[in-house]
Structures are given as structure tokens and as C-alpha cells.
């Protein structure tokens, strides 16, 4: 038993040393998790030490509290001795020559000088706590851990989230949903339709009430609807567009009334969503992400975690008792609620947040395009960036004056000429050409083995990258300067109504275009999956030769898959170029393919998880810039782990 503690401790020491030498514990300089109290660096260090103790006790089978504490503490002792030895080493030799990012973890984290003995004691104590954690009951543990993890995550981005909505917004939404659910219970309503009606009426009532209070002075400075430091975003609609406000609350009420009868997972997700809204609302009352915000976050998440662990099965049972028609309504209602939330997101996250969401959306588009080929036929297209770039450059070339459209090599920005197309004219052409390239690429790849195909597509992607930058193609592709001055789409409905013209200049406006594209892509993707050709694809994935003997035309299947995938990747590329106002060669590297691959693989095949993964990998580093340095590292680790543990049909195929 001592041996497990020692080995666990040594292993943990190796990991912590690695992290220290990489400079992880000093990456987030100046960034606070809880303002003025806990810096991110310190939090990371504490988490690592707790993890050490937890792991040691878990490995050693913590059968009693003193034993767990001892195991945890023992591992902590090894780690702290190792770190101290590292500090001594730093004084002896020039460690920074070899490891330029090294920083003494405890000192930088605590920002004060600590004596070796103090640091030793601290580490041992915290590790012992980790050991205790391993000892507590599993069910309690998972609740505590989930809540802690979510609190940490929120604290990480808390300062940014704080301005998303005001407390009154959160309370309004929560009031509508909760009162609707209570009403449905009180009136003992069983039918889904009636529930929704009750909920809608309830929502309307609350909306009117809030509107009256707002109009009566609640929204003026000092009014009761204004608390804290953030302007009410949602409730603020009462002034600018009251109809939308009432409509929104009616919808929320209708959909939210079904909260008690959702299938288990949706139930949990919805509750966590509401908890997040509440937390953000509370944080808005503070001037910065303070200890109070973190505390309230922890309490709320603990409560929700505990509550959902008990009630989700009850809700699941209730859902199962519905007939299939009602079940479908409930499901649609849940997705409708989510969709409504997505529609209104730009309102809350602001311009920069929407910019981030747009980037996330574009990568999501690309990942779904890759997913068509990967999830169905099991082919790894490591060169998907080539089609992404193709779409981007094609759209750029067609919508700016240059050699192709004007017959004159004009770099970048100049007056228009007759050959220049609008976005809506150029887009179908872009999709068709991308699809064609996909078809042409697919043909020679048909008889290649899986990994050969991956390497071949990788080579194609790299060739595209080099060709885009090369001087040889400057007249058309712009070489290093790329294609600049790509105009944003212009919606021109003036023939119907002279006032209906809009150039999608704003991030918020572009957001809806991307959202529309994602919805279309998902629809196409799921259509294909559930069709005959989707089944043919999966047959090929399971066993290519058997599928052939069954009469499935492999070539046809490959071509259709690649064509669709290429066209959709081209769509993503076109939107990307338009979003960035240009297509620059630097944006199309192997990294893009790898990121898309990593997202699809860790997305476990579901769009929802894919969305969360994209949000984490692309969105988070926008908010926390320091993470951008680690993005590829985390992606690589995720790839290795995901490929090992994800069970997919081709993992079990004959060697």
C-alpha cells in the first residue's frame, strides 16, 4: 500500500514537473479566478495538488479516512519535495537556458515568497484533502466534483459572462418557467397541449406585468428593475420592441411548461441551463467576479446537481408515459426552446461574443462537413482544409475585381466591373465547383486503404496550402496578400418594399446567416444518413469488401460522400472569407484540418457534443487568450484518448 502511494506520488510529480517546466502555472499572469482572492495560476496549482492526493488515495483504495488522508498527504509530500529539488536545481544550473518557461510554481502562484517548509506543509495538506475527496461516497462525490468543475469553469470566464444579462432578466425567465411548471402541477394538467396553453398564458401574464412595471418607471435609473451594474438586456426590449418581448415570453412559457416531463438527459441539460442563467444574473449584481459570485455559483450548481440526480428519473418516467405524438411535441418543444435561445444569443453576448460565436459556427460547419465522410464511411479526410480554402478563394475571386472577373490583374481593392458577382450569385457556383472537386478527388481514392487515404488527403491539403501562397499564381490567387476587400452579402428586397435592404455588416446580422447555414447543413447531413445511401455508407464502413459483394457501388458512394462534404466545406470557407472580408493564405493550414478532425472525433458523433467541443476549443481561447497557446496540445491529447476509448464500428473490424 505504501508502494502505491509512492508510485502515485512519483507519477504525479512527473506530471506536475512537466507542467511547471512548461510554464503552465505562470501562464495566466494577472488573471484572477476570483477577483482579488484567487488567481488562475494559484487555482491551477491547487487543482493539481488536489488531483494528486485524490489519485493516490483512489489507487491505494482509501478504505478509511485516516488512511485516505495519509495516502493523499504522502503523495503530496513526494510532489513538494520534488518541486523543491527543482528549485534547488534552478539555483545550481541555468535552468532557463533549457526551459525558458520555467517559473517556481508556488512563488508565482501565491505572488509572495514562501519558505520551503511552508510550501511543503501547504502541499501536503491540500493533497490530503484530495485524498479525503476520494474517500467520500461516489454519488456525493460526483455531485461535488461536477459543481466544483462548473464553478471553476464559470470563474474562468466569469468576468466576460458577467455583462451578458442583468439579474432581472434571469429572474423573469426563471419566473415564467417555474411558475408555469407549478401551475401545470396545481391544475393537474396531463395533456401536453393544455400544458403548453397554460404556460403560454402564464408567460403572457408575467410579460404584461413586467411591462407595466417597466413603463411605470421601473426601468429608469434607480427603479426596481435596475439592480447591479448591467443594463437589463432582455427586459430592456420592453421599451424598444414590446411585441417581441411578449412573444418571447409566451414562447418561453409554452415550452417551459413541459419542464417536468422531459426525457432524462434533456431534463438535466435544461436545469443546468437555467442554473447558468441564474448565476450570470447574480454575477451582474457585482462589480466584478468576486468571491460572492463564486460562492453563489457553487451553491447553485450543487443544488442543481443534487436535484437533477434525484428528479431526472421521475421526469423520464413521466415522459415515457406519454404517447408517441405527445413525446414528439415535447421533444420539438425542447429543441424549439434551445433554438429560441440560439436566436436571441447575439442580444446577450454582445458584439465580441457574437464574433466568437460566428467563428465557432464556421468551425462547426466545417466539422459537420468532415463528419459526413468520417462518421458514415469512416474515412479520414485530413485535407479538408483544401475544400475550405477552395470555397473561400472561389467566393473571393468571384466577388472582387480581378483577372477572372475583369480580365485585368488588379490586386485587391478597386472599382467594380461587370464581371463581379454578388454573394448570392457566387455562392451556388462556389458550392457546385467545390462539389465537383470533391467528386474528382474521390475517384482515385476509392481503392485506397484507410490510412493511405488519410495520408493522400493530407498531401492534397498541404499542396493546396503551398499553392495558395505561391507567387506563381499571383494574378489569380493574390499570393501572400490573398484576396482582400470581399464584400459582405447584401440582401436586396427593394422590389417588395423599398425599405428592405440590408448589408450584413454587423456581427449580429452575420450570425443569423451562419445559423441558417448550420441548420441547412445539419438537415442535409441527417437526411443523407437516414437514406439508402447512408446505409450503403455504413455498410462500407463495416466491411468494404463485403459491401462490394452485396452489390453496393463503392465508387458511387465515395463520390456522393466526398461531393457533399466538399460542397459543405466550401460553404464554410465561403462564409469564412466573407466574414473576414478577405481570403488570406495564412488562414488555411494543416492546423485547420486537424482542429476539424479533433472536433469530430471528440464530438462522439452527436451534433450537440460537437457543438460543445467546438465552443470549448474555439470559443474559449477567444475569451481567455492564454489558452490559445495550449489549444493544439490539448487537441493532440484529445485525439489520442478519443481514438482509444471511443467505440466505433471500425475499431472492431478485423485487423
Amino acid at each position: 500500500m505504501l508502494r502505491t502511494t509512492i508510485t502515485a506520488g512519483l507519477f504525479a510529480l512527473a506530471l506536475v514537473t512537466l507542467l511547471t517546466l512548461m510554464g503552465v502555472f505562470q501562464s495566466f499572469a494577472g488573471r484572477d479566478l476570483i477577483a482579488g482572492f484567487l488567481s488562475v495560476n494559484l487555482a491551477l496549482l491547487i487543482v493539481s495538488v488536489i488531483g494528486t492526493g485524490y489519485w493516490a488515495a483512489w489507487r491505494g483504495g482509501a478504505s478509511s479516512i485516516p488512511l485516505a488522508l495519509a495516502q493523499g498527504g504522502g503523495a503530496g509530500l513526494i510532489v513538494s519535495i520534488g518541486l523543491l529539488a527543482l528549485e534547488l536545481l534552478e539555483r545550481a544550473i541555468d535552468l532557463h537556458f533549457v526551459f525558458p518557461n520555467y517559473a517556481r510554481p508556488l512563488m508565482t502562484a501565491l505572488e509572495i515568497d514562501v519558505t520551503p517548509l511552508t510550501s511543503l506543509l501547504l502541499v501536503v495538506l491540500i493533497a490530503a484533502f484530495g485524498g479525503w475527496l476520494a474517500h467520500t461516497m461516489p454519488s456525493r462525490r460526483s455531485i461535488v466534483l461536477t459543481a466544483l468543475l462548473l464553478t471553476l469553469l464559470f470563474s474562468f470566464v466569469g468576468e466576460r459572462l458577467r455583462t451578458m444579462l442583468a439579474l432581472v432578466d434571469a429572474l423573469t425567465v426563471l419566473a415564467v418557467i417555474l411558475s408555469g411548471a407549478l401551475l401545470v402541477d396545481a391544475l393537474d394538467v396531463h395533456r401536453v397541449g393544455t400544458s403548453m396553453l397554460v404556460g403560454a398564458l402564464n408567460g403572457a401574464a408575467i410579460a404584461v406585468a413586467v411591462a407595466l412595471v417597466a413603463r411605470g418607471g421601473g426601468l429608469s435609473p434607480g427603479g426596481i428593475l435596475r439592480s447591479g451594474h448591467v443594463e437589463p438586456v432582455f427586459v430592456g426590449l420592453v421599451v424598444s420592441s414590446p411585441t417581441v418581448f411578449v412573444l418571447a415570453l409566451v414562447l418561453v412559457g409554452a415550452l417551459g411548461s413541459l419542464i417536468r416531463s422531459l426525457p432524462g438527459r434533456s431534463y438535466t441539460v435544461l436545469h443546468y441551463g437555467l442554473a447558468m442563467i441564474l448565476v450570470i444574473g447574480f454575477a451582474a449584481t457585482q462589480s466584478r467576479w468576486s468571491g460572492w459570485s463564486a460562492l453563489v455559483t457553487l451553491v447553485v450548481f450543487l443544488a442543481v446537481a443534487w436535484y437533477t440526480s434525484r428528479q431526472s428519473s421521475v421526469s423520464d418516467a413521466r415522459y415515457d408515459r406519454f404517447d408517441s405524438g405527445s413525446q414528439r411535441v415535447v421533444r420539438v418543444a425542447f429543441y424549439g426552446l434551445t433554438f429560441l435561445g440560439l436566436l436571441t444569443l447575439p442580444l446577450f453576448v454582445g458584439q465580441f461574443g457574437t464574433n466568437t460565436l460566428n467563428l465557432v459556427g464556421l468551425y462547426l460547419l466545417l466539422s459537420i462537413a468532415l463528419r459526413i465522410v468520417l462518421d458514415n464511411i469512416g474515412l479520414f479526410n485530413l485535407g479538408i482544409v483544401a475544400f475550405f480554402a477552395l470555397g473561400a478563394y472561389l467566393l473571393g475571386i468571384l466577388t472582387t475585381p480581378n483577372l477572372l472577373t475583369c480580365g485585368v490583374a488588379v490586386p485587391g481593392i478597386a472599382q467594380g466591373c461587370s464581371g463581379v458577382m454578388t454573394f448570392w450569385q457566387a455562392l451556388p457556383l462556389t458550392l457546385i465547383v467545390s462539389g465537383l472537386f470533391g467528386a474528382v478527388t474521390a475517384l482515385p481514392l476509392v481503392r485506397l486503404r484507410g490510412d493511405y487515404l488519410a495520408v493522400a488527403t493530407f498531401a492534397i491539403g498541404e499542396m493546396a496550402r503551398l499553392v495558395l501562397r505561391a507567387d506563381d499564381f499571383r494574378p489569380l490567387l493574390g499570393s501572400a496578400q490573398g484576396i482582400a476587400g470581399i464584400p459582405r452579402p447584401f440582401i436586396d428586397l427593394r422590389i417588395i418594399n423599398p425599405a428592405w435592404q440590408l448589408r450584413l455588416d454587423q456581427e449580429g446580422e452575420f450570425y443569423y446567416l451562419i445559423l441558417l447555414a448550420i441548420i441547412l447543413t445539419v438537415m442535409i447531413s441527417s437526411r443523407l444518413r437516414n437514406s439508402r445511401i447512408g446505409r450503403a455508407w455504413r455498410a462500407i464502413r463495416a466491411d468494404k469488401r463485403a459491401a462490394q459483394t452485396l452489390g453496393i457501388d463503392i465508387r458511387h458512394s465515395y463520390v456522393v460522400a466526398f461531393t457533399t462534404s466538399a460542397a459543405l466545406a466550401g460553404l464554410a470557407g465561403a462564409l469564412f472569407a466573407v466574414h473576414l472580408y478577405g481570403a488570406y493564405p495564412d488562414s488555411f493550414t494543416f492546423q485547420v484540418s486537424i482542429v476539424a478532425l479533433g472536433l469530430v472525433v471528440t464530438g462522439l458523433g452527436r451534433i450537440m457534443t460537437l457543438g460543445i467541443a467546438t465552443l470549448a476549443l474555439i470559443g474559449l481561447p477567444e475569451f481567455v487568450r492564454e489558452l490559445a497557446d495550449y489549444r493544439l496540445l490539448i487537441l493532440g491529447i484529445a485525439l489520442i484518448i478519443a481514438m482509444r476509448f471511443v467505440t466505433r464500428p471500425w475499431r472492431s473490424a478485423a485487423g
Binding site: 426590449l237 424598444s240 420592441s241 417581441v244 412573444l247 420539438v332 424549439g336 433554438f339 429560441l340 436566436l343 436571441t344 447575439p346 442580444l347 454582445g350 458584439q351 465580441f352 457574437t354 464574433n355 466568437t356 467563428l359 490586386p411 485587391g412 481593392i413 503551398l466 501562397r469 505561391a470 507567387d471 499570393s479 501572400a480 496578400q481 490573398g482 482582400a484 476587400g485 440590408l502 455588416d505 454587423q506 456581427e507 449580429g508 446580422e509 450570425y511 443569423y512 445559423l515 441558417l516 441548420i519 473576414l580 472580408y581 478577405g582 488570406y584 493564405p585 495564412d586 488562414s587 477567444e622 487568450r625 492564454e626 490559445a628 497557446d629
Partner: protein, 410 residues
């Protein structure tokens, strides 16, 4: 299916209404600030090769804020603060940083972005919001061709640096055959174009034009090809690492007699480190501020505050940019009735686009009206002698011709 589609479209329309309602910017044309004057700064702060340059820019701006920590407007004093964003030296990063700034009505103006690609991607966003930027390092010549209202730069453009380089090669070094090389970056490609055009205009011959990729490390075959055309000088527009390899591998391809010249990208200690003994005799150009007392004081203050020599070349430019913005605020700001600061963005932009005869650390600031602020600045030609860069000449551009003043070489 149809029902779903209908519902989607309805909701989408609703969403558009919501979206349109919200995104008319709250008070697009004016800055309103309660207590602070906030200046945005966009530079690449992370990333191995490029990070030090961004940090250098940040420090220049910080020193400006330290020197001028508050401004008097009417009876009120406002403190000055920097709001820093990392733009990653990429178009996406530049755009993201721009979106961050544009969402915050407190920001009066922005110092940055740092890299030409970021400047190009961010400019439309700043244009749309009426913001003003003063970049201390975006040198791409077509940024001031008239498309971007918001863009200004307080640094010598490639258009000037390339011209001086070409003139120096032709007139001072007496070389008539050169080969050009760039590294595939927008900066390098642009600079090489300027140099080649000017050189041919003067009567020289560009015997070969090539390009490499950043990250390549074996150029011997390429140098062989270049050597086949017998140039007397190789002009490379790019950064230190590739320049070092090229300069070293000249000898392998029997080109050790051929002169090697670069631009401000290689005017760093890094180049000398990477090239080793092959660095000796290499020329470079750089925009330099006039060496005088105020600059010396600034550099001394820099070393004292940060404990090391500047790792990049744009610290003085950043300092001047910040000071210029503060000047503009001081001259165009008014107080609102409740005592908060009001700045009309258009007036601010006009001030910067019209500034005349202002002496900054990086040179004489004279707005040309298209965004160029340091039009008639000096460009130095430096050479590595005994393992260190020494100035050998200074070129002054006046009315499209260049005058050189030679420095004594030891």
C-alpha cells in the same frame, strides 16, 4: 417537415427583427466616458517569434501612459488607461480584437493592430464603427491607398523603406544586378515589389525573383539557381531565421562574395545569433528615429522600467502613437452636462489625419491625409560589423528622391 420549416422561418424572421433592433450602436459617433480615457492596444503578445515585438509595442504605450497619466478637460481630470488585446498577428485575431474594441464605447482610439494582415482585416470593422487607429508597425503600402478611413500609421511604410534600399544599393553601393527573395509573408512580398520596381527604374537589373516559405531551412539548391544568374547582391525581405540560413548557405553555393541585404525584419539581435559568423557584412534597413536627447532619455527610462534593452523596433512608434491620441483627445474633447467626457469620433479622426509638424520620438509627424503620419521619415542603412549592427548611412526621402548621409565606418 413543412411545418418545421415554416416554424423555423418564422422564428428566423423574429430573430432578424430582434437582431436589427439591437445592433444600431448605442451612440456610434461619440465616446462617452465617466472617469477614464481608455486607449485600446492591439498587438501580438504571445507566440515565439512575434511576441517580443508586441510586448515591445505594449511597453512603449505603457511608458506614454506613465508619462501622461491624466488629462485635463474643462474642470475635470480624467485618468488614462490602456485596454490591451492580443491580436495574434493574424487576420482573425485582428478582427476579434477590433470587435472587442468596437463594442466598448469608452475606447477613444486604438494603437495597433500590429501586423499588416491584422490591420487589413480589422480596418473594415473600425471603419464601420467610426473608430480611429494609429498603428506603430503596419507597413504594408496599400493600407493607405484610400480605402480605409480609420487607418493611420506612425511608421515608415514599405513604400519608403524599399525605395531607400533600392537607391542605396544602386547609388551608394554601385551594384547593378540584384536578385530578390521574399518569405511569402504579405510584408515581405510587398517590400520586394517596391524595391524591384525602384531598382529597375534607376536602371538596374533584377536578375532573379524568388520566394521561399517560412519554416524552410535548406536553401542551397535555390541559391545555386540564383547564383546561375550572377547577381551582385541578394535582397531578402523576411525575418531573422530564414535570413540567417540564407546568409550562411551562400557560402555553400559559392556565393560568399555576393552581398546579402535585408530589411527591418532582420535588424534584430536574433539574426546575429542565428547566423553566427555568417552575419558579418550583412546589410539591413530600418526606420530609425533621430538620435537625440529625448530619445536617449526614453531609452534609459525603458531599460529602467523593464530591465532589458528593447527586444523589438517599434517602441518609440508606439509611444508616439499613444501621445498623439492623447493630444487629439485633449483638443477635441468636451464635457457633457453631467461631467462625463464626450469626444466626437469624427473630430478625433480629423485631428489625427490633419496633424502637422509635431516632433515625436520616432521622427517628424506630418499627416499626409491618407493615413500616413511619418511620411518623410529617415531610413537607416545598417551593417553587421564585428557581430553588431552599426549605422553606415541614413537616407532621407524628399520629393521622391533620396539623399544619403554617410556615417563613418570604424
Amino acid at each position: 417537415m413543412c411545418a418545421r420549416l415554416f416554424r423555423f422561418t418564422m422564428l428566423l424572421m423574429a430573430g432578424l427583427l430582434v437582431g436589427c433592433a439591437e445592433f444600431s450602436s448605442p451612440d456610434g459617433g461619440r465616446v462617452i466616458a465617466a472617469n477614464e480615457i481608455v486607449i485600446g492596444l492591439s498587438a501580438a503578445l504571445t507566440g515565439g517569434g512575434i511576441g517580443p515585438l508586441g510586448v515591445d509595442i505594449l511597453r512603449g504605450a505603457e511608458l506614454a501612459v506613465t508619462d501622461r497619466a491624466s488629462l485635463q478637460v474643462g474642470e475635470r481630470t480624467f485618468t488614462v488607461r490602456l485596454e490591451v488585446q492580443d491580436d495574434l498577428c493574424s487576420p482573425e485575431g485582428g478582427q476579434a480584437a477590433a470587435n472587442r474594441f468596437v463594442a466598448d464605447p469608452q475606447i477613444v482610439a486604438v494603437v495597433g493592430p500590429m501586423c499588416s494582415s491584422g490591420c487589413r482585416a480589422a480596418a473594415p470593422i473600425f471603419d464601420a464603427a467610426g473608430y480611429t487607429t494609429v498603428s506603430p508597425s503596419c507597413t504594408n503600402s496599400d493600407l493607405t491607398s484610400g480605402t480605409f478611413q480609420s487607418f493611420n500609421r506612425l511608421v515608415v511604410s514599405d513604400g519608403v523603406q524599399g525605395v531607400v534600399a533600392a537607391e542605396y544599393i544602386y547609388r551608394e553601393l554601385g551594384i547593378t544586378r540584384i536578385a530578390t527573395l521574399h518569405d511569402g509573408s504579405p510584408y515581405g512580398e510587398d517590400l520586394v515589389r517596391v524595391v524591384a520596381a525602384r531598382f529597375e527604374q534607376l536602371g538596374g537589373v533584377v536578375v532573379a525573383q524568388n520566394a521561399i516559405n517560412v519554416g524552410d531551412d535548406d536553401f542551397r539548391a535555390l541559391l545555386e539557381d540564383i547564383g546561375h544568374n550572377t547577381p551582385e547582391l541578394i535582397y531578402f525581405a523576411g525575418f531573422a531565421l530564414e535570413a540567417a540560413r540564407l546568409s550562411e548557405q551562400r557560402a555553400d553555393a559559392r556565393l560568399d562574395r555576393v552581398v546579402f541585404m535585408g530589411a527591418d525584419g532582420i535588424n534584430t539581435q536574433d539574426f546575429i545569433y542565428f547566423a553566427g559568423p555568417a552575419a558579418d557584412g550583412v546589410y539591413a534597413s530600418a526606420s530609425i528615429p533621430v538620435r537625440d536627447q529625448s530619445l536617449d532619455r526614453f531609452l534609459a527610462g525603458y531599460v529602467e522600467a523593464y530591465g532589458e534593452n528593447p527586444p523589438g523596433p517599434y517602441h518609440a512608434n508606439a509611444y508616439d502613437a499613444t501621445q498623439l491620441i492623447l493630444d487629439a483627445v485633449e483638443s477635441t474633447a468636451t464635457l457633457s452636462t453631467d461631467g462625463s467626457l464626450l469626444v466626437d469620433r469624427a473630430a478625433l479622426a480629423a485631428y489625427i489625419r490633419g496633424v502637422r509638424n509635431r516632433q515625436g520620438l520616432s521622427g517628424a509627424i506630418n499627416a499626409a491625409g491618407n493615413g500616413e503620419l511619418l511620411g518623410a521619415a529617415d531610413v537607416a542603412i545598417v551593417r553587421v560589423i564585428d557581430g553588431e549592427y552599426r549605422q553606415v548611412a541614413v537616407g532621407r526621402v524628399r520629393d521622391n528622391s533620396v539623399l544619403f548621409a554617410r556615417m563613418e565606418t570604424p
